[in-house]
Symmetry: C2
Subunit: 596 residues, 2 copies
């Protein structure tokens, strides 16, 4: 049985010591009440909910999975009850603006809570997570009347929702979608088509399900220019908010998947279903993309949750499991063998897990603050944060989900053969984790978005916004002797990042495939440098705490050691990426299709 213990100490380190949350929230318009005390209380409550209500559904949810019988989906035991508690506790409305009926907390707080419940059981958390899709679409594209009709019950968790984008023949290429919509005389629309991979498309948890659907109005332009957004309830909702008759919405089947088995992934048929348009005709993607950017950081968070969960399992096992003696002499001479945590290679695995998961937490929590600034900072703050997020979001999604694969891989490896056995839960973490590099845009798509649309598309400006921040930090710390392990290396990589970008940009003039063949290496390189900046800052904060004689010295010393581990053992990977990305595209592009 894999237990879960909320990592509140590290979360509070990031929020208080690393990010100075109190100052952050006090500077945001309308967030002055988010004091350290309030934030602590929210996280404590969320931690208890995650540990006591959600975590017990983790392994049983995988074992039972969802079942499908004649259009009816049954979720695993305990899922519905936990979801009702979640709704009643006000969690679903946590970050919805007060004007829309929510609790009005900043989005960052929602992300911190997502870490907790997502670590406890990501599959379960998806029902609430996807419910946020119609909420966001309504807020960004719904009339006051529609909001009034749908939002209240979505916010209490009495109803849930979905985001319907993918069709069998179109995943990454959304412009190909075929689901069509035609206008009715009463202002509603009739939707017809089939969507696949719809999380929570059907379930036995809530009384109604509200689908946000991308479809094409008849006669609309081809491609992405002709896509509109619709809201289609499973059961019709009357103007007074009461439930009417069943809509023409049905679940055709659910997918058998590698993991996240507690999350129902549905084929949804809309067979002349009635719904409402959100936003302008042919401009549905604009409304939805506001959601998608947040969703990408949300998926990056999945990487963090799986990493945290895997690390917790591995460190416990490594201290308990007795096997062989330390090469430097017995550490547990009275026992039959030493705990495996004495072995350097086991420690290497645990330190890798730590460096990547704690680094992800600090990085993503910072991005959460930037997201707050976009919506609630002053104009200049919003613009700067927005520009940074354009660059950092594909890095966060790509890098944090890819490195999370390594972390959950190592977690199994620490367990040896027992990691392969379901009862320990480690293989489930790896299976649940595996989709994170795929949905919300594959790693390949994130990489192209980063190098193509963001970096090259801005003539390098979006990148320079960030490298200047790193450069300034390095300048400030260049005479700090205690930071000598970090600063010269960070400075060097920061400069190399720009040079590589320039070289690839020049190469692309001759051969556009230079960008595509380099994209993955470039994204990973960017992630390692971003994490290097984060870890250097963590080291500085920790050194300052130690110098000031703060309590918890062991904790801060561990941070300094982990930062050093990151720089010495993981950051060298940039050498490989820098060399590989500059190679001639030919060896990738030369073979004819037939040669494969």
């Amino acid at each position: 049985m894999l237990s879960y213990s909320a990592p509140l100490q590290d979360m509070q380190f990031v929020l208080n010591d690393f990010l100075d949350s109190e100052q952050h929230y006090s500077s945001l318009s309308g967030c002055e009440l988010v004091t350290t005390e309030l934030l602590d209380a929210i996280l404590d409550n969320a931690a208890r909910f995650a540990e006591n209500v959600v975590a017990p559904t983790f392994q049983s949810g995988d074992e039972h999975g969802c079942t499908f019988d004649q259009g009816v989906v049954t979720t695993p035991p305990g899922f519905a009850d936990a979801f009702h508690q979640w709704g009643q506790g006000g969690w679903q409305a946590l970050t919805v603006p007060a004007a829309e009926g929510g609790q009005g907390l900043p989005g960052s707080v929602g992300m911190y809570v997502t870490e907790l419940i997502g670590s406890a059981n990501w599959a379960w958390s998806m029902y609430g997570g996807l419910s946020g899709a119609p909420v966001s679409c309504l807020i960004n594209g719904g009339t006051a009347e529609l909001k009034q009709r749908f939002l209240p019950k979505l916010l209490t968790g009495e109803w849930a929702g979905t985001m319907c984008l993918t069709e069998a023949h179109c995943g990454s290429d959304v412009g190909l979608l075929r689901t069509r919509a035609s206008a009715n005389a009463d202002g509603t629309w009739t939707i017809t088509g089939t969507k696949i991979f719809i999380s929570g498309g059907e379930q036995d948890i809530t009384d109604n399900i509200v689908h946000a659907i991308l479809a094409r109005v008849e006669g609309a332009p081809a491609g992405t220019a002709g896509i509109s957004l619709f809201l289609v309830p499973k059961i019709w909702v009357n103007e007074d908010g009461s439930l009417g008759e069943s809509n023409r919405v049905s679940c055709g089947s659910i997918e058998h998947k590698m993991g996240l088995k507690g999350s129902a992934t549905c084929v949804m048929n809309y067979d002349g279903a009635r719904g409402f348009m959100l936003g302008q005709e042919n401009a549905g993607l604009k409304v939805m993309f506001k959601l998608m950017n947040t969703a990408r950081i949300g998926t990056a968070l999945q990487g963090l949750t799986m990493s945290e969960r895997s690390y917790q399992g591995a460190r416990t096992y490594a201290k308990d499991r007795l096997q062989m003696r330390a090469l430097t002499g017995a550490k547990n001479p009275d026992g039959p063998a030493d705990p495996i945590i004495v072995h350097p290679d086991v420690r290497r695995m645990l330190m890798t897990q730590r460096a990547l998961s704690e680094g992800a937490r600090a990085f993503l929590y910072w991005l959460a603050q930037l997201s707050d600034l976009v919506t609630q900072g002053d104009k200049q703050q919003a613009e700067e944060a927005s520009a940074l997020l354009e660059l950092l979001t594909p890095i966060a999604k790509g890098f944090c989900t890819e490195t999370a694969q390594e972390v959950s891989y190592l977690g199994m490896q620490v367990f040896g053969g027992h990691g392969y056995i379901s009862e320990h839960g480690m293989e489930q973490v790896a299976r649940d984790n595996r989709i994170a590099t795929v949905y919300e845009g594959t790693t390949g798509i994130q990489s192209l978005d980063l190098i193509g649309r963001k970096v090259m598309g801005s003539g390098g400006q979006l990148l320079r916004n960030f490298t200047k921040i790193i450069h300034r930090f390095c300048q400030e710390q260049q005479h700090n002797h205690d930071m000598a392990v970090f600063i010269p290396r960070l400075q060097e990589l920061n400069g190399q990042w720009g040079q590589l970008t320039q070289e690839l940009g020049e190469g692309a003039v001759e051969n556009p495939d230079v960008i595509g063949t380099a994209s993955l290496d470039y994204m990973m390189y960017s992630g390692y440098v971003a994490f290097a900046y984060i870890w250097a800052r963590i080291a500085l904060v920790s050194q300052n705490k130690l110098a000031a004689g703060a309590g918890g010295a062991d904790f801060y010393r561990a941070k300094c050691t982990t930062a050093r581990f990151y720089f010495e053992r993981l950051l060298p990977r940039t050498r490989a990426l820098a060399e590989s990305m500059l190679a001639d595209p030919e060896s990738i592009m030369a073979l004819s299709e037939d040669a494969f």
Copy 2:
């Protein structure tokens, strides 16, 4: 549905062009009859058996899995029938010496056949694979009478067998085992204990199951010096070979695993079971280790099989799936989108799969030849081959199974969201594959074996045996202009390999943890250099074929391109490994246990 097509063209390229098998077999004592024609016929038959009989059990075997009810294990539909055909076809006896009742083909031929049936369904192939364990133990440690009693039915597949090593508290650390044996007056032994993770420990396929068991004779020395090997049949076998009464052997349960669900992984109870000792008292490990070295190459082969299977799925999907346009202009202008194989990042993934799986095939088939030389070459050949295998076996097991994880990961990634769905089979390949870096010694154990026992333990001699071969090859080719992409880089890495070894050896004098903290990086580095040597040789062979105007020019050109891809896009990883392995052990070792 994931299909399987035996890669006979590439196998024949490796066997004929790369390894000159005909010359190899004609030089082995007793193998003169293994002509190219015979080998082709064997592989053709094995390919048909793999494709038509074994492959159909792949996905259904995973879906049904094994079930357990009151001591009885039921294997998936079709497993028993396929196994009976396997036995009746003589495959189980293929490489057993003629003097022992087998077909007397060299061990290498068995490995090539293992690739085929293992790719078709590794879980199924384990029943026959593990049956080889008591066969090998009998041949190496059994009396003539015991061989006569057990071998014939093991070789026809009427009976199967197991290797029982692991206990709940001892996996890698075999010296801790507690299963005990006491002598009976009639020369037999009584075995008592519980073994876990016993593949095929119980099944409904064969009339009897013969267990090879490591146990400790009462009063034996502690640790590995007191371990003996026993043969314990599920049903007693009388001297005339007929079946007697049931032995005190029972299956307590089977494991629920991430993958290989068609292979029954059993908890086996020996409750005063009667058996025979094989080999000398307290020298059981010596008999078993002969098996273990071959088993490690066999597990390395699993990496190859999963890589091949994943690549086959990915290349087919990449040609079929239409999604977005090539950045360099539409390649399928009449269709709604281009096949995703036009996208550079998809090609990067496919080329990575190719480079690692074709490289593994060439490398492992060469090791198979070396294994032949150990048993059937002249004295000098045997000594040289044996020394090379000591070095290369942990590299093969560690590197080929680790890189296979990357390959099966990429296979899912090419499929996007569909890779996560069970019906496509790609996620099953990844799950089945996942155990390969764990059993037969984890990657960590292989890495320590390589750097500690083999390289440092021989004062570097075992390494120099190989680097000299690479050096000689580079010398021979240094003026070959067509090889200029490969030779200087290979020469450089070959030299660096020695330097790194020396530096680590010197560091270890001061701090023994230098070895343990560097071990994984060192093993992976060694693998990349070994594959570089293999790919350079493949490029040379292919260039020579092209220069000679041989048929199949596209095939040879693809080899040259893939070699270049390997050197330009994968080999740079050695830069990261070389830097990381030399870092101070402190950041790995410094934290106290409590800090985790």
